[in-house]
Point group: C2
């Protein structure tokens, strides 16, 4: 275990905590007070740290994700993990606002064959965001919805391409999870850079210090 700690840079007490929380499977027991950890434990620990630190997931969310990875053994619906076990921000809204938001979403979802299921994290997150736009008096931001939906389709294609061709189901699922969680962060950061560049282009702002 000391080695596992050294290899991963995670404190021993923290590793024990992760085991208690079910983020990390127990080592292979070699005696009542001895256990061996192999490369798969190192890999899992790295995954956990990446999801926590880079992906910003909570410990509970990481537990859900790794549980899903472990018990998922059919190839079908690999991205379902990402769909339903990954948390997205949501907030409660009143019925009128909700109905309005669902109507906006139904339009973009229908022409793309998306399944807009009420109660699922992505749908609820979308409702939250749209209602916030409206509530804040920035309904103008809704104009981006259709274009965002277009790029979302392109992103999803890229995501599937990136995991297509992997052999083991486990590898596909893990890759899909990493790609989904860290992909959100990746995209947000790229968007910032692109915004900066676009802003500069558009305003031809010589004085920009950023």
């Amino acid at each position: 275990m000391a080695e596992l700690s050294r290899e991963s840079g995670v404190a021993i007490a923290t590793i024990k905590y992760y085991q208690r929380e079910g983020l990390l499977p127990p080592g292979e027991r070699t005696g009542p007070n001895q256990a061996r950890y192999d490369q798969s434990h190192v890999q899992r620990l790295k995954l956990v740290r990446a999801l926590l630190e880079v992906g910003g997931l909570s410990v509970a969310a990481v537990r859900d994700v790794v549980d899903e990875i472990d018990e998922r053994n059919s190839t079908h619906n690999v991205l379902g993990v990402a769909q339903y076990s990954l948390p997205l921000r949501q907030v409660e809204v009143d019925d009128e606002a909700r109905a309005w938001a669902m109507k906006q979403l139904a339009v973009v979802a229908e022409e793309r064959d998306w399944r807009l299921l009420p109660g699922t994290p992505p749908t609820e997150a979308l409702v939250s965001v749209l209602c916030s736009f409206r509530e804040l008096g920035h309904a103008r931001l809704l104009t981006v919805l259709d274009r965002y939906a277009d790029v979302a389709d392109r992103i999803a294609e890229a995501d599937l391409d990136s995991v297509a061709g992997l052999d083991s189901t486990e590898a596909i699922v893990e890759s899909a999870v990493v790609g989904t969680v860290l992909g959100d962060v990746l995209l947000a950061a790229l968007r910032r850079l692109a915004q900066g560049a676009a802003s500069r282009r558009r305003f031809a702002d010589k004085t920009a210090t950023s």
Copy 2:
């Protein structure tokens, strides 16, 4: 203040807390122990709640953002707020990995005229994500980088279009902030839906329950 609380659904104690933390300006004083709050306070409070609950920002990040909104009075570089005062996840990496990541990024940044400044949040977040991909043995996910960069450009154009034409600088800046923060959430949720649809298309999976 009771009215402000009722109107916004935020507890009085919480409003006081936000004032202490500088998220909300004090009311216009009408006496030593009386203050008046107007519509701008209601609006600001809604903004704060949206950034906290839907956007997932910390109280400290929201303070930075509203400070930026308030003291920003030139039109130039409005999206700079989003660029530099918004937090993105980052993690420390060793020099070798960092150099490798920067090289990958330099390629995509250069052909798009993006400014890849070391030390800035977007750049550091990108380095973190790329290093995680590599560290986790999912370097294959790097193939998405170029396509993600393309869509980031398109998103940025949509973002600028959505705030173009607003008259007051304050409105532009606030809209840009809201659009950036909630836009991240919006995009992540749309991506999930698109992934589900793409996954279904590609695997023609009749048994999918999701």
